[in-house]
């Protein structure tokens, strides 16, 4: 039987579900660096991120709370970005998911979103930054109110 013209697909790196499968050897090396107890969190979730900070020779954990607006990559280099409003100013921080300086990630709330990247939140202020969730989801603006944002109005009942 004749195969269609062109290069034979490489079985090791063939695309799978839209992702390049990393070669087994790389995965084996990465395994040593993966942090196993990272929770399963998604874009739109509000999370507490515990960041280890060295002050002099003492270590302390600072918590950064905000909405996850992006996750990119997979395996050891995967990163996630969290956005929050500090003193009226938008602050975004990005960490490698498996960074040892991130001591914990806690999901505070999960939000219903329809995008993979929530960059549109940057243009929004106050109430408009809230995300819908099971019951009413409050964004970083904090005020309670009717569900809105992300163009989705149907809140999922718990």
């Amino acid at each position: 039987m004749r195969r269609p013209r062109g290069r034979k697909p490489n079985q090791e790196t063939r695309l799978r579900k839209g992702r390049t499968m990393k070669r087994a050897g790389i995965q084996r090396i990465e395994a040593a660096y993966l942090v196993k107890d990272r929770p399963d969190f998604h874009i739109g979730d509000t999370v507490d991120v515990g960041v280890r900070i060295m002050e002099g020779d003492k270590e302390r954990v600072q918590v950064f709370t905000g909405v996850v607006i992006a996750r990119r990559g997979h395996g050891a280099p995967e990163t996630f970005s969290v956005r929050r409003i500090v003193a009226g100013e938008g602050v975004e921080r990005t960490w490698p998911l498996h960074c040892p300086a991130v001591s914990f990630i806690r999901v505070v709330r999960s939000g219903r979103v329809r995008r993979a990247k929530l960059t549109y939140l940057r243009k929004r202020v106050g109430k408009a930054t809230r995300l819908v969730e099971e019951r009413r989801e409050l964004g970083e603006a904090g005020a309670a109110g009717a569900p809105e944002g992300a163009g989705a109005t149907a809140a999922e009942a718990t």
Binding site: T13, R23, I26, I29, E30, Y33
Partner: protein
């Protein structure tokens, strides 16, 4: 200094003891077989010839098949020589594994860079190109003048003038890369930084030839 042939698997991240993210390349290094040991007496120079990656006997040419057979090795896709004074510790047919790199702090990785085809002068030589506006027409990525008319050198364009042309697919050596990990069981070598060539490209790894601090 040891040498081995292998294949670049790709890059990923690691974290060092201070928690900093470090770019690393994973190389499948060996196992190789020694195909021939060259001696000054017989060949005029001292070297070991290594082979890596199996290939079916049916695609091996007769002359090459004979060469492989002489050392008792199986046919290999990637064959390279490594010049070394102490070739005496190698025997034809002997296996070479990453384990030999145990305790080697720095390595050189030799590979063939990705081919870029016929590349313009901006990509190939990092020229600045021409202005985007102010009357520039269809010459935004071209070089400027290439010479001043046939005068003293007797030629309009001087020798060595950098121009557009084929880029990439050349042998390059990444020198003094730090060895971060050796996984003898899976024949893996992890090195800090990047390595020439595409993922899956064949490379040669040898103990660093020049002294000096690690690159990056």
């Amino acid at each position: 200094m040891p040498a081995i042939l292998g294949r670049k698997l790709g890059m990923t991240s690691a974290f060092d003891d201070k928690g900093r993210q470090v770019p690393v390349t994973v190389i499948e290094a060996g196992p190789c077989q020694v195909l021939q040991v060259k001696t000054p007496a017989a060949d005029g120079y001292a070297a070991v010839q290594l082979g890596f990656a199996e290939k079916p006997a049916r695609v091996t040419t007769r002359p090459l098949a004979g060469h492989f057979k002489k050392s008792g090795a199986t046919p290999k896709r990637f064959v390279r020589e490594y010049r070394t004074g102490d070739a005496s510790r190698y025997q034809p047919g002997q296996a070479v594994t990453v384990a030999e790199f145990e305790g080697v702090p720095l390595v050189d990785v030799i590979g063939v860079t990705k081919g870029r085809g016929f590349a313009g002068v901006m990509k190939r030589h990092r020229f600045g190109g021409q202005p985007a506006s102010h009357g520039t027409e269809r010459k935004h990525r071209s070089s400027g003048s290439i010479g001043e008319g046939a005068g003293i050198p007797g030629r309009a364009v001087r020798r060595g003038k950098r121009m557009a042309g084929h880029m990439g697919r050349e042998r390059r050596t990444a020198e003094r890369l730090k060895v971060l990990k050796i996984d003898a069981e899976a024949n893996l070598l992890v090195v800090r930084g990047s390595v020439p060539g595409p993922n899956g490209g064949y490379v040669m790894v040898r103990g660093a030839r020049k002294a000096g601090p690690p690159k990056a």
